[in-house]
Symmetry: C2
Subunit: 245 residues, 2 copies
Amino acid sequence: MTNPSQHLKTAEIEKISHLEYFNIGVSVDCVIFCYDDKQLKVLLIRSDLEEFSGLNSLLGDLVRPDEDIDNASYRILKERTGMDDVYLEQVQAFGAIDRHPSGRVITIAYYSLIDIKNHRLQLDNNELNWYPVSQIRKMAFDHKLIIDSCLKRLQDQILDNPIVFNLLPHKFSLRELQELYEAILGVKLDRRNFRKKIAIKDWLEDVGEMEEDVPHRPGKLYSLKAEYRKKPNRHKIPAPKALTS
Amino acid sequence: MTNPSQHLKTAEIEKISHLEYFNIGVSVDCVIFCYDDKQLKVLLIRSDLEEFSGLNSLLGDLVRPDEDIDNASYRILKERTGMDDVYLEQVQAFGAIDRHPSGRVITIAYYSLIDIKNHRLQLDNNELNWYPVSQIRKMAFDHKLIIDSCLKRLQDQILDNPIVFNLLPHKFSLRELQELYEAILGVKLDRRNFRKKIAIKDWLEDVGEMEEDVPHRPGKLYSLKAEYRKKPNRHKIPAPKALTS
DNA sequence: CCTTAATGTGTAAAAAGTACATATCTTCGA
DNA sequence: TCGAAGATATGTACTTTTTACACATTAAGG
């Protein structure tokens, strides 16, 4: 009737850590969304595992023992995209026994929203590319499942929380915003009803400018009100804590 | 630009598993809800860690290397309550560096809904008890945070999904159901509007019986329609898979 | 048999969501 | 420079959902 995970004293951890319990790897996988060419896209990399040759996988890495899991996902994002002020949110853990062909690795899935226009990242590396979510089929590992879970979470959140603006430039037109919602939700929306709904939320302010270089009548530009634009916490990597091992 | 978690070949895993990366423990913690005495309660155990002396903690355990994380939470529930056909759902992982005083342990939180009336479990062990959610203050580890997250998830789900019935006996009155919703959501509901809303969902069927032994006019009894009563998947513990270690 | 305490039920008003059409502005090409 | 094309901007009637609210009925208990 006691709880082994509580029971562990320092000495005991040392004793068993290299035996049964601590033989599980923990990784973080990031579903990095962007909005480009009127499509919701995800950043994927060609898998370098033989078992998954020809398939893509998410960006991920093992969590370091002295690293918070949120920080691990920020680190991956920073390493891959160079960006560090991004929206990131944990979705859930995936822990099927055979999800990793090389051993037991439990992964924690995060999704991220970035503005591709502001941060043009170097994709010279042709192993790393953006793929439209709607066209993603087979993936390495359980990554298709992870993407689906993250997309669903995103869809559930955009109606109540002003988060999609992380996918857009600072200034945008209502048409762009509507097309983004349509891309995420996978439905067509009525323009007048959409504008009414957005107006009620009172998230936006008119920046007093108009679209430029569009081949039609330009629309007004808006931006998210500052009060909703709160930066995510700075995720400094803290000094390593003295560990027991 | 490569992904260490993918890179791992069997030999490499063996080489590093006892070094840096695999020195993280993975546990599962269960927020086991029941409904009793018109209150939502959680099953807690007195912590046996010195650091948390006098505090309660959730029921949890380390995940075994050959065990699916969902199965780990079922195992804990089975061990602690004797029940194995329960509603269980993962919420998220908690992975702050210093959340466990004895070392690095990442935990995955689940919540569970059980009907205390049907399965009277032996609480002779006075280290293990039910506590009203509304009265829980300080907890061992980050378990207060975990309980709050699980409660929020539960609150978000009960309006759309017929899951609260896992907390009730097979037959129940609409008053009992309403009181349960009130206990979970922490608000008072209007009786007529509540009944209308439940009627629209069409989840219930009249069992043709009345309450008994109540000190007032008895109400009709209802039960959840069979089509919504789908048992959770049987979670057999699978044969251990050959592992690399 | 009278009191108490709960069950059971409907309607009107307000709010939110949906369907839908016309005038205006800018570009572009004839 | 004029007209056509294509997008912006906007309001209203209709439907659905949500909310607020009161009274007759039933069984238990003294």
